[in-house]
Symmetry: C3
């Protein structure tokens, strides 16, 4: 399903939907409503951007039945325009994989299938098991005994510690570190060395399913004793930290800068907003959405959306309002006292009336 250009008829034949307009028009690329030209196809998924539809010069637009009415250009009507757009975009923009082969500057200590591509400066350790058509970018370090499933793509400078397993069709971005030691230390609690930390060897692995994407500079630690587990289809943005023995359910998606502490379990199809922190040893149910900036400090047993961030305001207003946070308990006590006094006043007044 890869093409350098498709007619609208061909697109509808492949991906379904209803075409309104000239099916012979040739589409060679995807673009935004603002910038698309005659040979490009765009999409309208969020009604907020509907006004942009009126001014678009796109060759065609993918949209929902409700939005189709006002379209000034050809359109493909379907139930999930953004998903449809993803499929067209994938078809017109296949991943530009390098030819198979091993760069002469690479150091490879394992047997590789012929279909594999290994770029400059790569190191692959002994007993690594690399699947068909795997592509390993320049400077990647693959530890001993690592398994990479068929079709997996590592961009440049990815590091995978020994023993970790990654499934098929993964995409791992530069700077990602898979399988570093979890943060496990026991503390001396008495004697002259009280307070010092002793390392717990981290002997678990990281096990990652199929179709997982891992963003740039994201880190996923190996398990302490058991394994850290990432199920199929999970998508990680950049700069995410996943602690040891975390388990993340299939098809969950985590935005940038999220931190998940050790032994937390996240359900299936969850979403976690940017910068959220999930504490350790707690469980989050399936289909939970955590808002950006939220600190999750206890188990969430029910699907739903959860939030804990504070609103921002002009600094002067903040100074006035946030000082009160230190007085909330005192404010609550004053309200209780007022309620008691007012009740007394009401009673006295009614007695006087009698």
């Amino acid at each position: 399903m890869v093409a350098s250009a498709l007619t609208l008829d061909e697109i509808v034949a492949r991906f379904g939907g209803e075409l309104i307009g000239d099916g012979a028009r040739l589409i060679h690329q995807v673009a935004t409503l603002d910038r698309a030209g005659q040979g490009e196809i765009s999409f309208l998924a969020n009604p907020k951007y509907r006004e942009k539809l009126g001014a678009t010069r796109a060759g065609a637009v993918i949209l929902s039945p409700e939005a189709a009415v006002g379209s000034p250009v050809a359109c493909i009507v379907c139930a999930n325009p953004y998903l449809y757009f993803a499929r067209v975009a994938q078809c017109l923009n296949p991943a530009a994989l390098p030819a198979s082969g091993i760069h002469p500057t690479a150091t490879v200590e394992a047997a590789l299938p012929e279909s594999v591509s290994v770029a400059a400066g790569v190191y692959i350790g002994p007993q690594a098991r690399i699947g068909e058509r795997v592509s390993i970018g320049a400077g990647c370090i693959i530890g001993a005994g690592v398994e990479l499933g068929a079709g997996t793509l590592l961009h440049a400078n990815v590091t995978i510690y020994g023993g970790c397993k990654i499934g098929a069709r993964a995409i791992i971005h530069s700077g990602a570190i898979i399988g570093a030691d979890g943060f496990g230390f026991a503390r001396e609690l008495e004697g002259k060395n009280s307070g010092t930390w002793h390392k717990i060897p981290q002997i678990g692995r990281v096990l990652i399913g199929d179709d997982v994407e891992i963003g740039a500079n994201t880190t996923i630690d190996r398990g302490a004793l058991d394994d850290t587990v990432i199920e199929d289809g999970v998508k990680f943005d950049n700069q995410i930290q996943v602690g040891h023995n975390v388990r993340i359910g299939a098809h969950s998606a985590l935005a940038g800068c999220v931190g998940i502490a050790g032994s937390a379990t996240l359900g299936r199809r969850c979403t976690v907003g940017g910068g959220a922190i999930i504490l350790g040893h707690l469980r989050i149910a399936d289909d939970v959405n955590i808002s950006a900036g939220t600190l999750v400090a206890k188990t969430i047993s029910r699907a739903g959306s959860y939030t804990g961030a504070v609103p921002f305001m002009e600094h002067a207003a903040w100074l006035k309002n946030f000082a009160r946070l230190r007085q909330l308990d005192a404010m609550a006590a004053k309200i209780r006292a007022l309620e008691a006094e007012v009740e007394k006043l009401v009673i006295t007044q009614s007695e006087e009336k009698l």
Copy 2:
């Protein structure tokens, strides 16, 4: 403007300001008020540190007219002492660039100017366009078609994905990743695969202006369809995440651990404090200052300072006060009820008086 030592007279001749003291004194380095010795020059910019001036043994101090009165040592009086100090420090501490040339372990698939320095283990892809006097540190990976402007300095282990453009005189620190895929996925909303994600190919680039500095392990994602744009003079600290299609206005400065979600637009000369999170698809005006730890969840249309962080307190006090956050709405309702009752009491009382 590079020198291994300068007299105070020479400094004032180059950078202006008024010298009080012996112009023949030779200065070879910059140092703090605490530690500076006879051949070193220090500065006093923050009145908070004024008491340190009395005890300094510096050869000279750069300071404002107000601070000059009490100086026990030679001083240079100027309007912006910290900026003046920066200029003197740059003059005495030029970047120690390696000699030009290509290390034999580097893999270079593009034509380079002779003035370029390429360190060990570097990979430079085809069609890369590297400017004069560019310095590329060990282990850097430069993708196909990347452009680096004249005088740009990449420290070790920087990764730049194909097609990205960086202007002149940039400084990019180790571990920075420029041009990884943005976090773009469309979700299936029905059927047996409901909840699964489909990748939107990220075909935009990262375009970075002149005089930009990018800190260690900072990540800037390529655009989804259009480009991610960083204007001239922007300064990024470490561990920052910039999502796809973000635009950051000239001369803005972002502290460590900031996250900016996709399609956010930040104005010119903004500052963003450490750990702040800026959500996607919103606009921040020019000259806005965001405090550390603030979550920016909506557009800011006016210059000014904005804050949203919560104060910390001893844990026991926090337990009492922050439990109340879940009751704020109930507290507000109680206040309203009390106001109504008190008003009724007041009316009844005045009626009784009649």
Copy 3:
């Protein structure tokens, strides 16, 4: 103290504690209570997991005197079971260090002891001083003049800038960047370039003591003028940012995603929870515990636990309650007004009674 298997008698002979059960039982590995089998030893440190003890099939369990009563299997009774477990685990799981020697693809410009191991693609700059038995993983970049103490282990793709010093027995994980420039710029405040930033050369170093562990993708900046200092035994998790001129006291431990701004001083034996942000130029006393997600915006002079995070709730409840944060000051004013009115009512009522 390294072994592939030990009897319980041998364990108690080495590490102390009281054995209850068959001392001849052979233990070859550590495991969780859930998964441990006959040849494995587990531990029970947190009473919360006590019910798991009843069902364990472990060969033995390390536990406290209180927990020993109900143990269905052999046990070792001691005062600090987690610390005891750490020692047994270390003994059974020695770090798998590569043989000494320099990989042919490495570029080494300094003299090295014979006991050192240098992996593929490493670069070591001139005047670097590398201690005995140091192990440097593939792709590491060690700048000019760097010092690494005896027995220090660098995993793959670590970057250390020139001039930094690291003590003995450090463990540094992949992607860590030690010694990048601190974030120091002076701003023009007037004229046509008002708002532009001028770099302050960062001429300090990073000095790291003995027995420090640094997590994956953690960054520690070099000092601006003086040095950034990390004392002995400090443990850093992943994705931590440490600004220039920070000082961290011995045996402190910092969880993932923490950010510490420039010139902050953290005391000895402190702990900092995940995602906490510590602002610059402040001091934190010894033995302070900062909770996850807390923003520390001022000096903490006394040992203790400090928290500033907000509780999360269902999104609908959050919308109601957090809107009130903007009205806290108004709520406090209303409470004051009510108090005044109620007091007046009380006085009037008592006057009427007279």
